[in-house]
Amino acid sequence: MIEWLQFFRSILPEFYQGMLITIELTVVGLLMGFALGLPAAVARVYGGKFLRWLAIGYIELFRGTPLLVQLFLIYFGLPDFGVTLSRMTAAYLALGLNSGAYQAEYFRSAIQAIGRDQMMAGRALGMTRLQAIFHIILPQALRLVIPAWSNEPVSLLKTTAIAFLIAVPDLMTKAKLIASRTYDPIGTYLAVAVIYLILVFILSEGLKFLERRLRIPGLETV
């Protein structure tokens, strides 16, 4: 045990760069997913025929196929169409598109939980549909969604490890390199597991804090 701790300390600095990349992949993927998922959810619930089917198409396509396939298509497939992306960009894109599809479903369930009555009350005041969505529905839905949505950042953080397969220098890639150099795969992968665990813990606490900060008396019972 003590031996392993010493080993862990010795390789920790090498993990630092990889950790930054992992965090970057998570943050960018999450934000991109948010930016895609929220409009997709709104379009799926409130959109006309065209927008609704566009949203459904996007969501089902990216939830229905393996992320790895999506990543490979983007990184290895797009060059055939003249679009060559850097490793990082390809990883961002795959993670963001995939996360967006999942986030859209979280948002959709929250929007539907807020219900038609709140929309009707907004419309009765003279708000347009869009105004009611922005001022009435989304502020409530986004609060309501936090506990369920909190799965997504945590899941995404771990999923970023897949970027290893197109040689993005993230935590996992670093671990592979260290393992082959030190001939200690168990020690190395244990170490990387501990780092992921710590990152997830910090992330979860941050999300809990966010949930508390945005809590509105009586709203949680909606």
């Binding site: 009555d117 709140q118 419309r123 005041l125 003279g126 105004q131 009435i136 609060r143 709203l219």
Partner: protein, 260 residues
């Protein structure tokens, strides 16, 4: 406003019908509401009273007939529904306050997002409306922290803030505990005294008798009888009206004594 000699017509409902698939919910409804009128709609549940209110503020589309607000046909094609609704206040049975906003913010919502008033002016107006329903001291409370009666009063203030031409009340006290009904009716009574034009769907016969200058008895989507409260309560023409009033007085009679 009340003793104005000439009353302006505010709302005119002409032969309105509403059909869901092949069932009529409203049949050939005609009704005129003048400025300062307090029209109370009574009748058994499921007879289209609420549907009629929803048709008036265009939350539901009529299947036939016309509705005029200040001589403009609001059921016509191409009418901007959002603009029409700004002039029609609506109070719902379940209050429907915006749960993420405080009482004050609820009242502000229409003023800032729909009327686009400057922040300071909007706040003054909103505070005034809360004062009007006696809830200045609850301005910073969220709906979840208010009693049902208080929530409904905030909902009334929210609708009033838009300076509507007419206020529609859809069973405003039906979801309330008996001891909270009084405070809401009190606010409505005050509004009526101030000359607000109102259409109220309610089972509170005491309120109807006291405040309404026109009572409309509806059943199965039809207006069975309409007239002054004197006419309907003391000299009903239709047997159905008499029967309904007798039943409802028996049901609600005791409670009324406490609130009126």
């Amino acid at each position: 406003m009340k003793d104005k000699p000439v009353k302006n017509k505010i709302l005119e409902i002409k032969n309105v019908s509403k059909k869901y698939t092949d069932q009529f919910v409203l049949r050939d409804i005609s009704l005129t509401v003048n400025e300062g009128d307090n029209v109370v709609l009574i009748g058994p549940s499921g007879t289209g009273k609420s549907t009629l209110l929803r048709c008036i503020n265009l939350l539901t589309r009529v299947s036939g007939g016309q509705i005029f607000l200040d001589d403009e046909e609001i059921t016509a094609k191409g009418v901007n529904e959002d603009r029409v609704r700004q002039h029609i206040g609506m109070v719902f049975q379940n209050f429907l306050l915006f749960n993420h906003l405080t009482a004050l913010q609820n009242v502000l919502s229409g003023l800032t997002h729909v009327k686009h008033l400057p922040a300071k002016q909007a706040k003054e107006k909103a505070l005034m409306e809360l004062e009007r329903v006696g809830l200045s001291d609850r301005a910073d409370h969220y709906p979840g922290q208010l009693s049902g009666g208080q929530q409904q009063r905030v909902a009334i203030a929210r609708a009033l803030a838009m300076d509507p031409r007419i206020m529609l009340f859809d069973e405003p006290t039906s979801a309330l505990d008996p001891e909270l009904i009084g405070e809401v009716l009190e606010v409505m009574r005050k509004l009526a005294e101030e000359g607000m034009t109102m259409m109220v769907v309610t089972h509170e016969m005491g309120f109807a008798r006291e405040v309404a200058n026109q009572i409309v008895f509806m059943e199965k989507g039809l207006i069975v009888e309409q007239g002054t409260s004197q006419d309907l309560f003391y000299h009903p023409k239709s047997d159905r009206t008499r029967e309904f009033l007798w039943k409802i007085t028996e049901l609600y009679g005791k409670k009324e004594e406490n609130v009126t």
